[in-house]
Amino acid sequence: MNAAIQASGLGKQYRRAWALRDCTLAIPEGQVAGLVGPNGAGKTTLLRLAAGMLTPTRGTITVLGQRPAAGPAQLARVGFVAQDTPVYSRMTVADHLRLGAWLNPGWDDHLARQRISQLALNPKQRAGSLSGGQRAQLALTLALAKRPGLLILDEPVASLDPLARREFLQGLMEAVAGQRLSVLLSSHLVADLERVCDYLIVLIASRVRVAGEVSDLLASHHRLSGPRRDPGTLPAGQEIITERHTDKQSNLLVRTDGPVLDPAWAVKPVSLEDLVLAYMSRAGNDRPASPQQLKAVS
């Protein structure tokens, strides 16, 4: 299958800080990919690199087989909705549709007007006086009506109330079902991503921690609980993500390719939210070992 987005060693540096580092990804086409991570992890940077808003400091990225923003034809194939869904506040809804029609050769005016009337937006209303949810829907309409092959959305529902959020995702999924569309969207609400995503990327502190199809991720991560055990005795191929021990009990979250055969463990499935939280807490503990710790291990 072709990759919608392919990155290799991608990195972006601002002054002295790296917003994104060593990012290597291959997101398949025709899927809805979710990008999750804490604030400041580099999600916006990765999305902007994919949309061609930024140029990489290091590494490469190709989108639908070409360099982002390489020319008008490539720009036409990628739709982008930035954080806080910016619109021209003094222009009306109808003006925005005109903007889309004038600037995009592949503009589907029928689709745009249909969506606008379905959403009950007043074409003569200034975009600045729309509610947050309406603005987001307008931005989504503009991005969808140019008939892109890939749609990139940066936290599109972050500042919306639950109803507006649900309506936005309904509209987005309806469009995905209707067109052959790949989507990459970021959110810090894992519950939303669990509903809509086939593919998940966890980005923490400017690095990709885990990426894969959601079904594979859920099948390969398990909660293990049982009597107190030294984690070193686990078989190879089982990677511990997080561990908690009391004097009598051990609770682990592990990643494994094969089944867990040891009968001493009670094995439970993991929700996507737990999975993401586990990786986040592991990244938080990533500190270089102190000399005492190193001595104890050897």
Binding site: T55, M91, W102
Partner: protein, 353 residues
């Protein structure tokens, strides 16, 4: 993209149209009467001897009757300020507002490249700014034509008959306003690109534009072409001033002129006392002329005495024929600056988000 640029300039274009129409109405209401005053003054086809006199009468008449004395300076100020206004309100927000509000993300994810987006917006906005200023100055040139002719025929000493090299006159007539408009606009766009906030960009644009508009007539324009030099005799048109000193019976004098016989409409750069060869001389009144100085003050007697001592007046000037070369050169400088700034904006474009 052209239609989008025009859509985004909608409000500004309407404001400019309203101002243009109001100005045109004002000039149309007063212009024909001014023309008829000129026709009645007999300046057309006048004998060279009487032209100066007739011109002065005409200018006096215009100055004292009707609204002309108010319309003239109002128009001058309007044309002088318009490049700054378009630079501030059309140029500065072009990039700054998009960067400030985040709408650049919407604009640059459409199917046009950033370069084309900026190129069209710069061209449409820049040409529009030049057109507005050009229209205003064209209307004014039509209206003030009689006054200009009267000044050219020797009328002087009137605020309505400015020498064409007067800084305010030079900046509001001819083609220089077009250059200023283009420059102020691209300066505004560049400031917006660097500062990324509309109001600070407007302030910086105003500061830099004002500084250049002051520096140009003071230091740059006078040195664009080598000046001509000549030495003439002291005449009744020469300004002769006398000053007392600490020592009794010793006086100093200064000589100046604001016109040159045989060079109507010339730009007098400087003038001063000199000998026949043009070298500056001492400005202490020679002792032989002291009686003339002390008794009658700076009068014809003193002038004759100085002349008999071989003292003349040296004048540094640009002849009237230099007017259009200066206009073209100055406009060219501003246009080159505009293009350089525009080029810089394109180079910075890829680093903007």
């Amino acid at each position: 993209m052209i239609r989008l640029s025009m859509l985004q300039l909608r409000v500004q274009a309407i404001t400019a149209a309203v101002a243009l129409i109001a100005f045109a109405v004002l000039l149309a209401a007063t212009g024909p009467h001014l023309a008829s005053l000129y026709a009645a003054s007999g300046l057309r086809g006048c004998q060279p001897a009487s032209c100066g006199q007739r011109a002065n009468i005409f200018l006096q008449q215009v100055d004292s009757t009707g609204p002309y004395a108010a319309v003239y300076p109002l128009s001058i100020i309007l044309i002088a300020l318009t490049p700054a206004v378009t630079g501030l309100f059309w140029g500065a927000p072009l990039l700054a507002r998009e960067l400030e509000t985040g709408t650049f993300a919407l604009a640059w994810s459409q199917s046009v490249t950033r370069a084309r987006w900026l190129a069209v917006k710069l061209t449409v906005g820049g040409l529009a700014a030049m057109a507005v200023t050009g229209a205003l100055s064209l209307l004014f040139a039509w209206w003030a034509a009689p006054l200009g002719r009267a000044a050219g025929l020797g009328g002087s000493g009137n605020s309505l008959a400015m020498n064409q090299f007067n800084p305010l006159a030079f900046a509001t007539h001819g083609i220089t306003p077009l250059g200023y408009a283009a420059f102020a606009f691209t300066l505004g766009v560049t400031a917006g690109a660097l500062i990324r906030r509309t109001v600070p960009a407007m302030a910086v644009t105003l500061a830099i534009f004002a500084a250049l508009q002051i520096a140009m007539p003071l230091w740059i324009r006078p040195n664009l072409f080598p000046a001509s030099h000549t030495t003439v005799a002291i005449t009744s048109d020469t300004t002769l001033n006398l000053f007392t000193t600490d020592s009794p019976h010793t006086f100093t004098f200064t000589l100046a002129t604001d016109g040159l016989a045989g060079q109507p409409g010339a730009w007098i750069r400087s003038s001063g006392a000199a000998d026949a060869a043009g070298h500056p001389v001492s400005t202490v009144v020679p002792s032989a002329c002291s009686p003339a100085a002390s008794s009658s003050g700076p009068g014809p007697a003193l002038a004759n005495c100085l002349t008999s001592r071989g003292i003349r007046i040296a004048v540094t000037y640009q002849p009237a024929s230099r007017y259009w070369p200066l206009q073209w050169t100055e406009t060219g400088i501003y246009l080159v600056l505009s293009l350089a700034l525009a080029g810089y904006c394109f180079r910075r474009l890829s680093r903007l988000s």
